[in-house]
Each structure stands twice: as C-alpha cells, then as structure tokens.
C-alpha cells in the first residue's frame, strides 16, 4: 500500500484491548481517508441505537493520504462519531501537528469504543500503543494539559486533549491539538470525555513514507508549495490571519451581528478585523505542519481587564462568534473569551451562537433571571460572558450552565420558546458567514451538509466568492452571491469536491491553488489510486451519499435539510437588506440533480447502485 499505511489502531477502552487492524486498499480507493473513511467504518461497525455518549459509541480519528508529505495544507485530520449535539453524523477537521505524527508512527487512524474505568490517556509511540492513567490531568485545562504532556520522558509529543467541558460531556466540547488547533464542531470532545479519555499523545521516531510515484510526487510538490506560498490569498492570510477580510465581509453583509438580527455594523468592522488584531495584539504567526501560509495567530494582551499571556489567538470564526454575534466589538475581550473557550475545551462557534441566542431570548423576556441564576444577559456584556456564562457552560453548572450547555436548539426546546430565532441546521449552529450576505448557495449547503450548518463541508463559500474555477468538472459559473441562480448546480459539484477535500484532510485555504488535474495527480502519485478526474468525483459523491445514508439510519430525513426561520428571513439592513433566499427552490433542484428522495432525503436505489453502494441501498430501501 502506498501513501496510506493501511493500519488502524482499534482500542476497546472497557476491556483495555488494543489491536492493530488493516484496511483493504480498495476501501481507501473508494472512500479516500479522513471523514470519508470514517463514514465507511461507521457504517460497517456502528451500534446504530447507541447514544452518542454510550460506551458502545465509536470515536474515530482518521488521516488523509497526504498527511506527513511536507505539502502546504495537507496536515489536517478528521475526527468523527455520532454527534451528541445533533444526534446525527458528526465530524470535525483539525489542523496542527497530530496527523503527520500519527502517519510517521505507522497508522492511518485510531478507532475507539468502550469506556475506561478511570481517566486515561492513549500513548502511541511507534509500534508501542498503550493506555496509561491520566487522573492527574483530569479537571485541568486543555492548554495546561497540552503543555504538561508536550515534553515528557525526554521526547517531544504531539497531543490531542479535552478540557473540562469534554469531561462534563458538554455536547459541543472540542478536542485540541497542541492546545491551539481544534476539532471544534459537533461535540467530539464530549464523546472523548464519555470514554474517560483525557488525552492521546503521539511520538514517532522516523519520518519515512512509501509513495506510489516518489519522483512524480516530488515534481508536483515542488510546483505546488511555492504556488501556495506565493498566492495572493496566502499573503493576506499570513499577514492578517483568517479575519483579514472581516471588514470586507461586514460591508458585504456576510458577518452576523447580534444573533443574525443585523448584517451591518460599521464601527465593528475595523475594530475586529484581522489587521487590527495584527496591530494590537499579535506576537507571532504560526502554521500547521509544513504549511507556508501560516494563518494562525499568537497573541498577548499584557494588561487591562482582558489581559492574557502570550499564546494561541482567535481565528475569524472565534472573533465573530464571540464578538459581533453577541454584540461586542471589544477585540481584547474576544481574545480572552476565545482563550477561555480553548482552555475549557469548548467549540467557540456553538458557544458564541448559543450565548447570542440566549441574549436575544433575554431581551424578548423568553428567558428571565429565574432561568439564569440571576445573571443578566445583555448584548456585548463581555465581563458577564467571560466571568459567568462560559465557565457555567463548560461546567454545566447552575440553571444557566445546564440550559446553555445543551446548545441553542435543545435549549430552545427545553424552555419551549425561541426555536425560530436559533440559527442552525440539524441542530448545529450556523458559523460566522451569514448566507443572506455571504451567498444564497451557502444556505443550501448549510442545510444539506450531513453534519449540519457548516461552511467548510463543501467549498460553496469560495465558489460564491469567485475563488473557484474548475472547468474540468463543469464548474465555470460566475456566481452572484445574493441570488439562487446556478446555486443548486454549483452545490451538486461542491458536495462531491468538498467530500474529497475533507476525506483527503486538505485545508481549504491551500487547496484553492490546486487544479483538478493536480488533485488527481496527487492521489495517483501518493496513493497509486490510478484515478481519472471522474473517478475522483465519483468517490466524492459516494462519500456524500454514504453520510446521508448514515444520517437516515440515525433518524434524519429530508425535513432535516432545512434552516431555521431566522436565517431565511430577509436581512433587516446592510448590503442584503430586504432580499429573500429562494431556499425551497434551490433545495428542490438540488434534490433533483442529486437524485435524492424528497421525503427520505436519501439517494434513489438506482443512484446508490451507480455509486457502488448497492448493498447499502438494500438496507435503506428494503
């Protein structure tokens, strides 16, 4: 086998049984790796009626075939499980350093079941894989734990850790690599916490990999790395981080404000944008392994009420979710709130969105101090957010913590009010791109994404922005963001391409510079898949289909491919003011193009057969 190792660590934490299992080459060719391979393994091994936090539930970490290849953008990693937040398919992608290290140690992934009898840590050191007690780390913050684990026994370890939120099973708890890079979405940290697993640490002594065509790959790499490094977008991201164009986003109406009730806030645009972060708080730039873009930030706020030590700084999603979305344009406070979420191990997007929902509920009197332990929730009150709300969520403490730690949709259902003004799809909160300004196609892909509202499941955001041109796969559209025209057609391409990107575990900032023929050449030179363009796109479609089948078996149907009224009502101000999204029209056409059943939401039996999913069709269409 080339590129991939074909070896997966399978751990039953209840029995403390560790095995190395092999995965056949044709499975990789069909499902690529990362979230695609995770979907395949889930389909084959899941206990379908298991609660996401039950011992029987699966938690998987899977590499793509390019991890460790010293290629910009290729060091991401997928975590997948049934989501405790949504009840459906959950996956999350994380950059950083764990993916190459696991590959160098000789494995493509880790598959966990069971529940350890005591707080534990999985140690992977080349061929030696063992469980160790981790009681001394339980209760500690994610950054603190990562610091303690990083250098031990005279070796440098790569770490995946949960914070207290994961230990308390908050359904949107995250997992952090090196205390900085997050598997943020869908609550993978809670699943890890439910298994009593505080950390995974990895150390590899060698860096060798076996490629199908080493010379061909090296030629490709020597072309791609400088191109990615020198790209205009890379320069912008390097200088001012992922929030570099936040200001432009505000003027386009893409940046959500006060729980998606506004699409324009002029003063906030400059206060929170990436160049302001650079000017005020940046101490250094950093990167995921082997990436020349270096979009990550390190910040320090030396004094004042929001002082924080030098350490990981916020990305765009965090800045907006813990800033404008909750009515704040105080960048120092946002940095501190983001750091706190990292330490506690919370997804900043769902945390911010849930607080924003609660602030609006409080304003409407749908929530009162009787529900919040006396805490008054006002827009932009960052002292309360930092001192009371976020710690309460992570600890599930008091009435406020118990309510908001459910996430916005479940919290609204619990109080019986306010579901219409949550911003979510399938229970996953909408990220920091408002489709009314960012692009109507994004509304469609938020809704049909297997994991719920997600801007990185598929490259629709980039397509509507104008950053994609793929004539080889029929993507030559010149899309107008605030229109439904050609969006279903674009989405049909995006779901296949996005499924490839996330199964290859490739960064969407870097991969915009890679052409479709180069994508195919990467798979062929690294893993020897022997693909043509159509084979690659067929694999992407197959993966999208399989995740939909998984969701169907977990109770999701076409009705769940929806967005809440808040996101679909016309914007009240800003560039998109008054414009409606033709959501149902786009969805109907997308269903037609993808051969999806209008009630079940799954592909027709014929479409499944065509995608090589005949056996699976028999399960869902019997």
């Amino acid at each position: 086998m080339y590129g991939n190792t074909g070896r997966i660590i399978v751990v039953d934490l209840t029995k403390r049984l560790i095995q190395i299992e092999t995965v056949a080459e044709d499975v990789y060719r069909s499902y690529v790796g990362g979230s695609g391979l995770a979907a395949r393994l889930f389909w084959d091994r899941a206990v379908w009626d298991a609660d996401p936090l039950a011992p029987e539930a699966l938690l998987m970490f899977l590499n793509g075939p390019f991890a460790g290849l010293k290629l910009s953008g290729a060091s991401r990693f997928s975590a997948a499980a049934r989501s405790p937040l949504t009840g459906g398919w959950g996956d999350s992608s994380c950059g950083g350093y764990a993916a190459p290290e696991l590959r160098y140690a000789g494995y493509d992934g880790i598959l966990l079941t069971g529940r350890a009898s005591e707080p534990s840590m999985l140690t992977i050191e080349d061929g030696d894989v063992r469980l160790e007690p981790a009681g001394s780390f339980w209760g500690k913050g994610a950054l603190e734990t990562a610091r303690m684990l990083r250098e031990a026994d005279g070796k440098k370890w790569r770490t995946l850790v949960i914070g207290p939120a994961g230990e308390h099973l908050v359904p949107f708890a995250c997992i952090l690599n090196e205390g900085h890079h997050a598997f943020g979405r869908t609550g993978m940290g809670a699943v890890m916490g439910s298994k009593n697993l505080k950390a995974i640490r990895i150390h590899a002594s060698k860096k060798g990999m076996r490629l199908a065509d080493p010379e061909g790959y090296e030629t490709l790499r020597s072309e791609l790395n400088p191109r990615i490094r020198d790209a205009l977008a890379s320069d912008v991201l390097r200088v001012n981080g992922t929030a570099a164009n936040l200001e432009g986003g505000v003027y386009a109406g893409d940046v959500p404000i006060r729980n998606f009730t506004s699409n324009f806030w002029q003063e906030m645009a400059e206060a929170l944008t990436g160049s302001t972060l650079t000017d005020r708080f940046l101490t250094r730039r950093s990167a995921c392994a082997y990436c020349s873009i270096a979009c990550k930030r390190h910040v320090e706020i030396p004094d004042g009420p929001y002082a924080i030590s030098q350490g990981p700084g916020p990305e765009y999603e965090t800045i907006v979710s813990l800033g404008s979305l909750i009515g704040s344009m105080d960048l120092a406070a946002v940095c501190k709130a983001g750091r706190l979420c990292n330490e506690l191990g919370l997804d900043t997007i769902t945390t911010g969105a849930t607080i924003a929902w609660a602030m609006e509920a409080f304003e409407r009197n749908d929530l009162t101090v009787a529900d919040t332990d006396g805490v008054i929730l006002n827009w932009g009150d960052m002292d309360t957010v930092i001192d009371r709300v976020i710690p309460a969520i992570a600890g599930r403490s008091g009435s406020l913590g118990q309510l908001l730690s459910l996430g916005s949709a479940a919290a609204a259902r619990k109080i019986g009010k306010g579901l219409d003004y949550t911003a979510q799809a399938k229970g996953l909160e909408v990220p920091a791109h408002d489709p009314r300004g960012g692009g109507h196609g994004l509304a469609l892909t938020y809704a049909v994404s297997p994991r719920g509202a997600c801007h990185v499941a598929f490259p629709m955001l980039f397509m509507e922005m104008g950053a994609c041109y793929y004539p080889e796969i029929g993507f030559e559209f010149e899309l107008e963001p605030k229109s439904a025209e050609n969006k279903p057609e674009a989405a049909a391409i995006a779901v296949a391409l996005g499924s490839i990107e996330n199964s290859a575990c490739y960064c969407q900032f870097a991969d915009r510079e890679i052409t479709i023929p180069e994508w195919v050449a990467l798979f062929n030179t690294v893993a020897g898949y022997g693909w043509e363009v159509e084979d690659m796109m067929a694999a992407g479609k197959r993966i999208f289909y399989l995740k939909r089948l998984i969701n169907y078996r977990l109770g999701k149907t076409a009705r769940d491919d929806s967005l809440t009224p808040r996101i679909l009502e016309p914007a009240r101000d800003g560039e998109p003011e008054g414009i409606s999204i033709d959501f149902e029209g786009m969805k109907a056409r997308f269903y037609e193009l993808m051969q999806l059943d209008p009630e079940k939401g799954i592909p027709s039996a014929e479409a499944l057969m065509d995608s090589g999913l005949g056996k699976e069709a028999q399960v869902v269409w019997r």
Partner: protein, 139 residues
C-alpha cells in the same frame, strides 16, 4: 478595447478618479492606510497605458506611466476590465482566480479598500459624466 478609443482615454479617466477620490475624506483616509506605491499596469493595451498611486507615509499622489521607484504592488489587467472594476461590475476575486487580474506584491493594504468600491464607483460615474463620456457608464 471595447470601451476606449485609445490608450490615453482610460488613463485620463482613472487619474481623475483618484484625484476626485482624494477629495473624499473616507476614501482619502482609506487610501493612506494602504501605505504602498501601486502601479496599475494596463500595458497590454498600449505601452503608455498605466498609472501609479503613491499613498505612502500619509501622502497621496497619482501620475501617468510606470513609477520611477519600484512599486510595492503591481496590478496588471486590461483597460476594459479596469473600467469594469472601477464601475464595480467586476468581481475582483473571480478576476484574479481566472487570471484576468494579475497581482505582484502584497495586496493586504488594498483589501482594506475593497469595502469602499461602491463609493469609488459612484465617484467614477461622476468623473465619466464630467468628461462627457456618459456612453461609457456601465449600468
């Protein structure tokens, strides 16, 4: 060229656009924040079809041709696409992706001007009227 009779016409319009923009407090302030010497290179439509904007160190100056000093950023495109761009009828990201616009140097500063393109387009329309070129206004 679709919109211009000769290579002098676009430069005349674009220089006037920047002179008028400099009189607008918001745009003037935005341009100064860019803090770069920029060469707008339309030489694919004629050897003299280009101009420069110097907004370094709090100054704001424009002139025809290539700047004497090495520019911090060069933006190369056709004079027709420049016309579409200043009229806010060209998606700059799409134009860069499809190689209609080629950028050399850092565009970080220029990104700050992107939100102001709508206002620039309004001024540009006024400039075209003033020059008696209503027929060039893109609707």
């Amino acid at each position: 060229m679709e919109y211009w009779k000769n290579e002098e016409e676009p430069i005349r319009a674009f220089l006037k656009l920047f002179e008028e923009s400099a009189k607008d407090a918001e745009l003037s302030s935005g341009l100064k924040k860019v803090n770069q010497l920029i060469w707008f290179d339309y030489t694919e439509d004629g050897p003299n079809c280009s101009f420069w904007v110097d907004c370094r160190n709090g100054n704001l100056a424009v002139g025809p041709g290539k700047p004497v000093e090495e520019p911090d950023m060069t933006m190369s495109l056709s004079a027709d696409d420049a016309h579409r761009s200043w009229s806010n009828k060209l998606n700059p990201v799409m134009a860069i992706t499809r190689k209609k616009i080629r950028v050399k140097g850092s565009a970080t500063g220029l990104l700050k001007l992107a939100p102001k393109l709508k206002k620039v387009a309004q001024i540009y329309e006024g400039v075209l009227r003033e020059l008696g070129w209503e027929d060039k206004i893109l609707k």
